[in-house]
């Protein structure tokens, strides 16, 4: 574990984020939404780690909690061997320089009252990366790097198209010269024709600046293209964690198999067996006992109802949390 930690850029251990549910006049806490419930993974430098799962499974919350946009309930996040969740204000400000985020919706991610140049420039000023004239130059440099033009820095967000805005959002994240970027569904709000451009941009930037991505997505075909490793989340828990090739070749968790069977294939003559899951995702405020997936699993066994499976390594190298793969003896 210690040797692995030294090589990893980000190590997340047993991260939990519970949102309290408040009811009544005195807003007493009557329960918790377990958005992230004990997630552990690590990311190597230069790698793209994809978190996938359907909406509400806690993948975005995981990304945001790692960056301390939400306060974690418990757990540990090490970034380059440094404790993120316990970092002081001053220390955190320095850490934020190298950990950035790209948001899902480029329409709400930019302040409509500030020119793009002012938005990015302010960040540079606060971190004392540049001053005076250098700010303008640096802003223009990152805009150009992200496929925009230098004069775009004078424009307001409403003067851009969705794809251009997402380029601005990426430019803003890049301005601080980060090593690690959480890409929180960076393309799901964009037109399909623009999606590939943004994906290419993210890949170019990764090559040019040795970036490490935590790529959050529900689009498995994009993940197949981008990711090095894939983590599948369901109801706040990681249910499968595998290298990309292994994951797409041989998914072990029944949920992963169902997800993969839903990817459309571009050849209509291929008949694919689709696994249709029954029912809805249970509420994370009241998750089922035992395996979180047992209410919808086609291979339900008795043990699944009572014992929560742990994430364990299977023979193929995939880590999976399922009693089918790791029968309890």
């Amino acid at each position: 574990m210690t040797t692995a930690a030294a090589a990893d850029i980000l190590v997340v251990t047993d991260l939990k984020k519970y949102f309290p549910i408040r009811t009544g006049v005195l807003s007493r806490i009557s329960g918790y939404v377990k958005a992230v419930d004990g997630v552990s993974f690590s990311i190597k430098p230069g790698e793209t780690f994809a978190l996938v799962g359907e909406s509400g499974c806690g993948k975005s919350t995981t990304g945001r909690t790692i960056l301390r946009l939400y306060d974690a309930t418990s757990g540990d996040v090490q970034y380059n061997g440094e404790d993120v969740l316990g970092a002081s204000r001053e220390r955190m400000r320095k850490l934020r320089k190298s950990m950035q985020i790209v948001f899902q919706d480029p329409y709400s991610a930019l302040n409509p009252r500030m020119t793009v140049g002012a938005s990015i420039g302010e960040i540079l000023k606060v971190h004392r990366i540049a001053a005076g004239k250098e700010i303008r130059e640096r802003v223009e440099e990152v805009l150009v790097r992200c496929g925009l033009e230098a004069y775009h820095s004078w424009r307001y967000p409403h003067e851009f198209s969705g794809g251009q805005r997402q380029r601005v959002v990426i430019a803003r994240a890049l301005a601080l010269d980060p090593q690690f970027i959480v890409a929180d569904e960076p393309i799901s709000a964009l037109d399909v024709s623009i999606q590939s451009q943004i994906i290419n941009l993210l890949e170019d930037l990764q090559d040019a600046y040795d970036l490490t991505y935590l790529f959050i997505s529900h689009d498995l075909s994009v993940v197949r293209h981008m990711a090095d490793r894939v983590g599948v989340m369901y109801l706040g828990k990681l249910v499968e964690l595998a290298p990309k090739r292994q994951f797409y070749k041989e998914p072990l968790h029944p949920y992963s198999q169902a997800l993969l069977s839903a990817i459309p294939v571009s050849d209509p003559s291929i008949k694919k067996k689709r696994i249709i899951l029954k029912g809805d995702v249970p509420s994370p405020a009241n998750p089922p006992a035992g395996c979180p997936f047992h209410t919808r699993c086609p291979y339900l066994m008795d043990v699944c109802r009572s014992v929560t499976p742990e994430l364990m390594r299977a023979e193929s190298g995939t880590e999976v949390a399922c009693h089918l793969v790791h029968p309890i003896t």
């Binding site: 320089k97 985020i101 709400s108 020119t115 971190h127």
Partner: protein, 294 residues
Amino acid sequence: MQATDIKAASLMPRKKTSEFKEVTRHLIKNRAAVAGLVIIGVFILASLFAPVFATHDPLRTELGNRLQPPTREHILGTDELGRDLFSRMLYGGRISLNIGIISVIIGLTFGVPIGAVSGYFGGKLDIFTQRFIDIMIAFPGILLAIVIVTVLGVGVENVMIATGIASVPIYARLVRGSVLAIKEQSYVDAAHAAGLGDIRIIFRQIIPNCLAPIIVQSTFQIATSILWAAGLGFLGLGAQAPTPEWGAILSNGRAYIRTAHHLTTYPGLAILFMVLGFNLVGDGLRDALDPKTR
């Protein structure tokens, strides 16, 4: 989102005034708002140039000429001490406008930061502030102003402070509501992720985005403050004799309403039109600033 016109797509950097221009364009298309602007403009000019337009010294008494109805000499007649009503009303307009504007400035300087901090940080601080504001809002504004004037003492300056303080809770509540909505936007998260401080986020990211309701409320609040001040003047808590103030003139004229109705009619109409003017502009601004009604 407005459709970008050809100019927006051109390669020239655009000027910063685009938003301002847009709002002005919509305001001018609105007839009621233009009427309001004209009314306010007339009152502002009359107040600015009161010494030029005044036909008499507003304070000079002429006991031989008491309670004269409007004549060529005295356009709006004279009051119970023979002072020229037209001149007194010109100077009175200065006081009313001053009270309206200064009380709004006071309300803004305290109400906006209180509301912004309360909404932004939330938690216990928010609960405490909001309950305190509940108590203040529970009193009608004019009553609150009366209480404050009673504590501070009568006089024009104290009326400004009192109406200003009475409008603080209104701003605080309004701004808090807007901040609650805006702080959930991802650009605020982005500012956090970029390591910007809370104070900077409040003043650079959040407050500029809730300016529209603040501007609209301010035009309405000028009208309300003028009305409150006239009320206080009417009750004898505002400007003291012989200062010409509309509410006070109205109050003094009340005794002669059967014999010399011009002493109540004209100040009453002046208050009515000034308040109407600001309200019309406020309505127009609300529509012009809201992208949905454009």
